[in-house]
Amino acid sequence: MGNESFSARITSGDNSILPLKTDEDVVRLRKQVRDDLVALGFSLIEQTKMVTAASELARNTLRYGGGGEAHVSRRHDNDRTGVELRFIDNGPGIANLELAMTDGYTSGGGLGLGLSGAKRLADEFQIDTEPGKGTTVRIAKWKML
Amino acid sequence: MSNKSTQLAAVIAEFQDQLLEGWLAGLESRLHRDKSKTIDLRGQAAQFLPLLAETLQQTTSTNIEDAGWVDVRQLLAEISQARVRQGFTPIETANFVFALKEPIFEYLRKALVDNPLQASEEIATASTLFDNLGLYTIDVYQKAREQIILRQQQELLELSTPVVQLWQNVLALPLIGTLDSSRTQVVMESLLQKIVETGALIAIIDITGVPTVDTLVAQHLLKTIAAARLMGADCIISGIRPQIAQTIVHLGVNLEDVVTKATLADAFVVALQRAGSSIQLTAGR
């Protein structure tokens, strides 16, 4: 899925898929996430945290996963509403997940705060990775109704 | 006297004193003795009965939503709202009306002893009427309670974040009570927001009123200080009690980079110096 070319944003209902191939795509994703959070009435602080987390993870997908795509979807529960993001790449995967999740550890010259920082900024964090197959990171932020 | 409601009205008007005694006896048996003493039950009952009789005489409707019942609704609403403040339960509040049923039925039966059919009809109508009045008091009670809760929540939130300007460029945040993470987040946001609004260079966080500091609270404080520094303002912590100093060191929390002062007054002097002002004691003191 990550090798196809996504020329335009694909939207289905409350779900949009954005390509992550260039730095500009990261900016577009941030804007999309911000718009969804604003529409659902998240506070400025919560918006900022989630957009920052999205920025970190989008960079990882781009830099370490060789590009991929981001899925942005709105979620609704009985008593809460939220935004869920999935970052999917078909890159090399992460060999040592525990190490990758450590503050300050980096394999590529960054600050090593991407994964651990995004986890702190979001309400939910989940990562599936397999060496040679790729990585999917899912984060969500919830707001009580 | 063929109209049902006027018959009820006639009974109430004629036997008002007896009904009042019967009603009060019923009320007092249903309420806790200490509670019934705290309020003027007799006064409220004596006000309600004639109003009810008058309403029944003037309107043929027994639907309490109708305009003719506005005075009765008004009085019941006032009583119910007072009950909320006095700490009564919804059941105790509704019983004010329900306790009137028994004496009324008794006198209706007596008045219509020759016409049992009409008596049962009258009682059924009166029963529905009092049920509706009782439910109305519960409804008012509920709404009054919700309003109180809402107002208290608002007050709590405002109380919990009292950012005050002590001097030009100097803010103070006197924290009182236990800090949990959601409250700390509110405190943090309002302090930082106030820094932007006032252009303050320095903020004093006074924790004299904070009973305990655990690792999490200490971390929250440090985060607030770090965030303020990123924006260009410094923070001083004051009012650290000996036990809290012990806890902080035992927990291994590093406060080395933070300016701490024993009292708010000491912190204020430091803050003034940083903000470019100073205080001088006048002669003769």
Binding site: I45, T48, L111 | K223
Partner: protein
Amino acid sequence: MERIPILRMGRLLLVTIQVDMHDRLAMALQEDLTNRIVKDRANGVLIDISALDIVDSFIGRMISDTAAMAKILDAKTVLVGMQPAVAITLVELGLTLEGVSTALNVELGMKMLEQPG
């Protein structure tokens, strides 16, 4: 290529970031600033981020690296105008920009740069 403009006022360099930052733009700004410090013989750099609605770890690192580079080139850097929500998020992310001087706004930042030392 898109670049963030750098203004010169006496021996100070002024940057107001008003576009959505991305990594390439951040790296270009860092390069431009260090070049201009030498070329303009600047002794102070003021970076205004009041229009930025997020600062992630990459931009944060660019800022602290730039401040460190400027210091080696004998120029002082002041970062001004960080929004409260951005500051809270940066701290939560684990970034405190140690070694970077900060001020609430451009005016206070200029004052800091004008002070000797």
